[in-house]
Amino acid sequence: MPHNADLVCDISQELPIPLAANFTCKAGEVLAVVGPSGGGKTTLLRMIAGLTIPKQGRIQCGDVLWFDSAEAVMLTPQQRHIGYMPQHFGLFPHLSALDNVIAGLDHIPKSERKQRALDWLERVNLHGLPNRLPAQLSGGQRQRVALARALAREPAILLLDEPFSAVDRETRERLYIELARLKQQLSIPVVMVTHDIHEALLLADKMMLISQGKMLQQGQPFEVLSHPNDEAVARQMGLRNIFDGEVVEQDVERNMTWFKLGEELIISDSAPPLAKGQAIRWVIPNQGIRFNAISSGRLCKSINKLDVMIESVLVMGESSRVIASVIGIGSILNADVPTHLVEKLALQTGVQTTIALKSEQIHILNTP
């Protein structure tokens, strides 16, 4: 089977559901396909697997052509030799964990199957559980059996459909670490479908945003998060601080743009081609906002200072969501602040304080 082979996919269709995607996933790379439910993520994964046939396009893994509508090439899932982990794992309920893994090993001699399956169950930390039925395993254990089954095949690519959605938070975080560790050992393309941006940021080398069947943006996860192409991408990435502005000045050499939010002057460390006086939309992530300590006046030397009134503080474990309105403008800002800082800075509902927007995190959006 071809290893160290890149996956190249360029497909499109209008019916039965519209879907268009064009991407490459290199061997050893994890590509996260991110988007809302019903956006076409699972359909895309099923097309790569050969479970659904796209109307047009081409899918190639290394030198092997899997699908080509022009040349009428259509390899079955069996011929593609993939490792696929469906959302609910797809374990055969009447077979033990061991037999589930063996079920994917038809391509190797019968005498080697059991040992290979046991080795993989060991690798995913399922030592001592090979004879249990899926119903006798926890969600995390089931997920690992499914992963072992997919990987034991030594597949050309690994496809994961919402791999962490069916397990509890604690298990999920343990599995993140396991997948991150496993990622270093794999030399195949891994395509992971998820609706969770944080999962993509944590595990993926590359991410592709997809919504209503359209590919919105692809790139390195932090690049997409910090430089969304447009407002649709920004909203999909969960960015809430999206505002109007008006360009005052640009210095292309220093890569800076000055613009107005109401009457306040804001500086951004980016200079896309814009005209003076042009209306823009701009975004800043929740983490790009700093709060002033009431007593210390810590932000006195900062730029992009705004006076705000705190509307609410929502403690979410180690981090807190502070929602504040800009005084005199009314724009609502969402900021994620470590909870210990919220306490230290005495941030409470009704408190007036000053914030500073980090100029390097202000991103001016492309307008259609």
Binding site: A49, H88, F92, P93, L133
Partner: protein
């Protein structure tokens, strides 16, 4: 007790389930897995024997399989015997009448197999036949067993269609239900009572088994989710 009629009924039931169950697996699987134009009509057609009086079905089969019909004529030409008033005709009639009893439980069982499992089986590299034998059949077997028990017991007690199509020929078309009717007509209530008790016991056992199978199927599906 008419042992010959009981044996004939058992023979008729056995032939019917042997021929009908594989056909029902194909139809039930197709209806569960595939969407196609006219599916609702096909499903309605399969259910028709449930709502039509047996005499009406018997009448149409008598007309459709009789010597004057295309099928009846062809069978006589090929095998040298007519389908009506004959055991082979009863088998065909029993298959048609019992299609809903066979297809429905199998279709329902197939519908409970999550798409994730079907996808995973294909992506495990298993051939279609291997998927059927190793994954599908073990998962739908309670449905298959339910279909088998329902059809067997239903054929055993079939009266209207058998009388219309087969008449009352001892050793050929006289089943246990016909024998009970005959006994009552002849005021032989001891014999009728004994044969009725045999059918009653069989029916209760069959239904108990079916209920137990359905529960098992429900339990199995719950663990898959």
């Amino acid at each position: 007790m008419d042992w010959q009629a009981l044996l004939l009924s058992v023979k008729l039931s056995s032939f019917t389930v042997l021929l009908l169950i594989p056909l029902a697996i194909i139809i039930g699987r197709g209806l569960a897995y595939f969407q196609f134009r006219g599916k609702s009509w096909l499903e309605a057609l399969i259910l028709v024997p449930l709502v039509l009086p047996p005499t009406v079905i018997g009448y149409y089969l008598l007309v459709g399989l009789g010597n004057q019909s295309f099928i009846g004529g062809l069978a006589e030409q090929l095998f040298g015997q007519q389908l009506v008033f004959n055991f082979s005709g009863l088998v065909i009639a029993s298959i048609i009448v019992n299609i809903p009893f066979a297809v429905q439980p199998i279709q329902r069982a197939y519908e409970t197999i999550p798409i994730d499992i079907r996808d995973a089986a294909a992506c495990c590299g298993m051939s279609r036949m291997r998927i059927f034998l190793k994954v599908e059949l073990p998962m739908v077997w309670p449905g298959v067993l339910t279909a088998l028990v329902l059809c067997f017991s239903h054929v055993l007690g079939e009266f209207g269609v058998v009388l219309m199509l087969g008449g009352n020929i001892a050793g050929e078309t006289k089943t246990i239900s016909i024998a009970i009717y005959d006994s009552v007509q002849a005021f032989d209530f001891d014999s009728a009572g004994m044969m009725s008790l045999v059918l009653l016991l069989f029916a209760v056992s069959a239904l108990a088994l079916t209920t137990s199978m359905s529960r098992r199927l429900g339990g199995l599906n719950a663990t898959q989710r």
